[in-house]
């Protein structure tokens, strides 16, 4: 800990610029609230995410002043680029379970459309992520129910603090800004999605265990006959010899554990919505086995759905959050 220094304004002017030692400057600034105009200009207000909790804004090491051109390699610029690219959905998504697949037939055209049945169950908003505290906007959504007797006291405290029943599974859905945050505790039903809109689904694909090279990387193996001895599905070679480094290059594709990783399937059409039963039917397959948890959100590569009357609570929530920030 640096020693506490009692200084006058005159002494402050003699100190090196703020960017050379922001921590020292911060401790001094706290003791001398009346700063000169120059020093006020030098106060850098960038929010920098830190691993640990900080009581005050961490000052940037770089000259991140309003008068200077924007730093391209900064958290603020990254967020602005992300918003400009319009890849963040305007509203949250939901968690659902993959129940199985079937097909829908159109009685008029006779067309058969395979579809996956996803079921929502007690989906509620459990929390928020805000730009001021966390550096980004997101909605924490919970699915299902977990018996309080099976939960740890710290987690029970979290749910009690939020005023929401404990959830079996919680996931975050990143949104563009505060307007996308729903009220904590608000239930989301299957009616959140419209028939005919596009969605992206994220779920863990089926685990394949320890998979060999032919399955994992599509290698062709060796011939079945013509003298091959005990070598039909093996790797063959792992690389060149002395000329290619005298070693196996790090990152070399090899057999290993395959599957059970998040897989995103984009641009699935919502074919049917059954709000009473909590069902959303999306066209085509969804990754993962039956019973797996699926994250569904508006498709980022399609125009955002036009939803005039579905989000009445957004106005009040936006006001609340903007009042806090």
């Amino acid at each position: 800990m640096p020693p506490r220094i009692q200084l006058s304004h005159a002494r402050l002017a003699q100190l090196p610029p703020a960017f050379l030692n922001p921590t020292l400057y911060a401790s001094i600034a706290r003791q001398c609230p009346q700063q000169t105009q120059q020093q006020q200009q030098r106060t850098i207000r960038t929010v920098v995410k830190t691993k640990h909790h900080t009581k005050f804004l961490k000052l940037s090491r770089f000259n991140n002043l309003p008068s200077l051109p924007k730093l391209r390699a900064s958290a603020r610029s990254a967020i602005e680029r992300r918003i400009a690219s319009d890849t963040l959905p305007l509203r949250t998504g939901v968690l659902a379970t993959k129940k199985g697949m079937t097909a829908l037939y159109s009685p008029d055209t006779g067309k058969r459309t395979p579809c996956t049945i996803l079921q929502l169950d007690r989906v509620q908003v459990v929390g928020h992520k805000t730009a001021r505290k966390h550096g980004y906007w997101a909605v924490q959504v919970g699915y299902g129910h977990k018996r309080p007797a099976t939960m740890t006291r710290p987690m029970l405290g979290v749910y009690a603090g939020q005023g929401v029943a404990p959830k079996e599974r919680v996931a975050e859905f990143r949104v563009r800004d505060a307007k996308g945050l729903l009220g904590v505790g608000e239930a989301i039903t299957a009616g959140w999605f419209q028939e005919g809109q596009w969605v992206d689904t994220k779920s863990n694909n089926k685990g394949k265990g320890f998979a060999g090279g032919m399955k994992r990387h599509g290698w062709s193996g060796q011939p079945a006959s013509h003298g091959q001895s005990l070598t039909h599905r093996t790797m063959g070679s792992a690389g060149g010899s002395q000329g290619s480094g005298s070693r196996v290059i790090p990152g070399k594709n090899m057999p290993g554990r395959m599957g059970n990783e998040q897989h995103t399937i984009q641009n699935l059409k919502v074919l049917k919505v059954d709000e009473a039963n909590g069902l959303v039917l999306v066209s085509g397959p969804v990754s993962g086995p039956k019973g797996c948890i699926v994250k569904i959100q508006d498709a980022v590569k399609k125009p955002w759905p036009d939803l005039p009357g579905i989000l009445p609570s957004l106005e009040t929530t936006t006001q609340q959050v903007e009042a806090q920030t």
Binding site: T97, K99, G100, T102, A103, L104, Y105, S106, P107, D108, T109, G110, R112, I117, Q119, L120, D121, R122, Q124, G144, H145, P148, R153, L156, G157, Y159, A160, G163, V164, A165, P166, G185, A187, T189, A190, K272, D274, A276, N277, G278, L279, L281
Partner: protein, 156 residues
């Protein structure tokens, strides 16, 4: 230690609808087969149902009617399908038909098997020894009988 009180969970749609696949299937079948005739034709409990080994004729919305021996009935709710083995210009052809598809206008039993087949999948019929061969004669006879009866029965 005081127990930490958490609110109760909201009503569960999963408790309301425990078997969504069956619910969706039932809704689809009600839409595609309102009279229930197609379901009865392939129902396990119906003694007059079409069984594996029977010669069936499928009339489609577009295309020629296809006749063949039913060698497989794949039961999957609204996705139930039948595999018919017939001949087209003397070449053996197997075709799958979705029983509830709107493109399948009618399925008629041309000839029932004499005795119940002793297995569910009659893939042995692919061998030359058991191949039923050309069914044109059987179908012609059935059509003649139907015309004589004045479209009495058989069509579902």
């Amino acid at each position: 230690l005081q127990p930490i009180k958490v609110p109760p969970p909201p009503p569960s749609a999963r408790a309301v609808c425990k078997e969504p696949l069956k619910v969706v299937d039932a809704a689809q079948i009600a839409l595609l087969d309102p009279s229930g005739a197609r379901t009865r034709l392939f129902s396990k409990t119906n003694p007059d149902a079409a069984k594996v080994g029977d010669i069936l004729l499928v009339r489609q919305k577009s295309g020629e009617p296809f006749a063949g021996v039913c060698i497989n009935i794949r039961r999957r709710g609204v996705e139930t399908g039948i595999l018919l083995r017939g001949q087209l210009t003397r070449v053996g052809v197997e075709m799958w038909f979705k029983v509830y598809s709107p493109n399948v206008e009618a399925i008629e039993v041309v000839q029932r098997r004499r005795k119940r087949a002793r297995r569910a999948r009659l893939y042995y019929m692919r061998t030359p020894k058991h191949d039923p061969g050309n069914l044109e004669g059987v179908v012609r006879q059935y059509m003649r009988q139907r015309a004589m009866l004045g479209k009495g029965g058989g069509s579902k």
